[in-house]
Symmetry: C2
Subunit: 298 residues, 2 copies
């Protein structure tokens, strides 16, 4: 089988597995299934869950599209390249409870008609209220998966996530980060096949970290003021996705399916002018940790 077909198949299987795990943890709602075609070639399967017991809005999107390389990517590919093929899974989950973090995961494979090909991806967690023990658990699990492939991956990709998942205009990270990587090509130390296995391992890790985090927080009580803070933090999430996110930008510029691209936005978000947090509050503690370079493991 063609390598790109193999990646597509592996990603589709991973999509099904993830949706099944999320439906089980939610216990009420099910993922819809919409198959769609891309204007220039290929298409995808968008799966969205809404108004669950736990998951207010979440999407697990698979796509495998082709087309002309958009202008803003030209500098990153072989000068002879004209057409791209891209396949990936992209997930954003917005739980109803402010005690459960927002999570994002993406793995993707990209190739051009001039022979370039690479993998990219990432997972990052956006707690509305940061709990140090949970942050440590999340990062430890990411490190464990990375270490199975290359012990340089976790420190390198953790720093990359700090830089990438960053609202420059707010001077704050979107959450506690995680890992992010892009343009990773096979070399003497890792094969293309192993890069695919790494991507699939991350989809397993996604389930392995998020299900326990949901379970640990789902029964915690919350008040309207916790909810208010959640909507404000979701507003920052919207800012990141619309201003900086490369996947969103790529989708908009390549005329992707808009409902699939913007499934990442929450059902409700809020912006208050000059919102201030109280000294000594949990909100202030969370804000104090939205910084680059924090070592969550120790």
């Amino acid at each position: 089988m063609d390598f790109k077909e193999k990646v597509k198949e592996a990603f589709q299987i991973a999509q099904q597995k993830i949706c099944k795990a999320l439906e089980e943890v939610d216990g009420k709602s099910h993922f819809s299934v919409e198959e769609w075609s891309h204007i220039e070639g290929g298409g995808g399967i968008t799966r969205v869950i809404q108004r669950g017991n736990v998951l207010e809005k979440g999407g697990v999107n698979f796509s495998a599209v082709e087309g002309k390389i958009p202008g803003f990517m030209k500098s990153q590919v072989n000068a002879d390249a004209d057409l791209f093929f891209a396949t990936g899974i992209s997930i954003v989950i917005h739980p109803e409870s402010p005690m459960i973090p927002i999570i994002h995961m993406n793995v993707r494979y990209f190739q051009t008609d001039a022979g370039d090909s690479w993998f990219g991806g990432g997972i990052d967690l956006t707690p509305i209220y940061i709990v140090d023990e949970q942050a440590k658990f999340f990062h430890s699990e990411l490190k464990r998966t990375c270490d199975q492939f290359d012990i340089e991956y976790y420190p390198r990709f953790k720093n990359w996530a700090d830089d990438y998942f960053f609202n420059e205009h707010r001077n704050e990270t979107r959450g506690i980060g995680g890992i992010f990587y892009d343009y990773i090509k096979p070399d003497e130390s890792i094969s293309q096949e192993q890069l695919l296995q790494f991507a699939i391992a991350l989809t397993d890790t996604f389930v392995d970290v998020y299900v326990p985090i949901v379970q640990e927080n789902r029964n915690k009580p919350f008040t309207p003021s916790h909810k208010e803070w959640q909507l404000i933090r979701r507003g920052r999430y919207v800012e990141f996705n619309l201003v900086y996110d490369r996947g969103t930008k790529f989708g908009l510029e390549t005329k992707g399916r808009i409902e699939s691209i913007l499934m990442s936005l929450p059902e409700f978000a809020s912006w208050k002018y000059q919102h201030l947090v109280e000294v000594g509050s949990d909100e202030e503690y969370t804000l104090s940790k939205l910084k680059k370079g924090i070592d969550w493991l120790n």
Copy 2:
């Protein structure tokens, strides 16, 4: 007096006049006043109203800042230009009632240290529910003001607004448009002084059109389903401001005061996956009119 000082003074007076008129129509809340300094020079006065009788969140921002010309503007100015001075008023009003349209207005003056200078601005209306008669009134008043300066302005600037206030990725206009103009320099037909008068005339027109529109709609009853539609339309407004709006982009790239730049975002917004409107509904009617090239006058 230096021309730029004259523009600043006129804009500050206009800011006070507009806030007074909006406070009167609201009848409850008052505008806060925050003076701030820009990192490279100058500053501004941000005035925000929140939780009024009518106005849920609105900002009337005055600024007069200077600094290094950001990279994305380099192609638009004299090659020798290195520093800019920019002053303007920027307004976005989000009423609580879905029966009252969102409105935006901006007038601005820009000059560089290489002798470039120009005016820009615009007003556009974003009804949650389009009412043809009100759209006609709004556009007629804009035309009347434009015609006093140049009879080419309204048709030219109306088309410019259709192109500018457009969510490309949604293939829909943000609302019923209005006027938009940029890089307008004095020439044989209009002086710099008259361009300033045009900008000030627009600030008067803003009050003259919005106050009657608020009064006409403020007592109309609405249901939770009207409110739901409003939050979705506000989501589109957020998309425009974060993805396309030049003022927002300029503010973010020149390290402006973030709370002043993003005061344009509503207190609450919503995104639903694949939201559909009912055939024959008012929501469907509004969607059918979110297109370029509509002649609202006839």
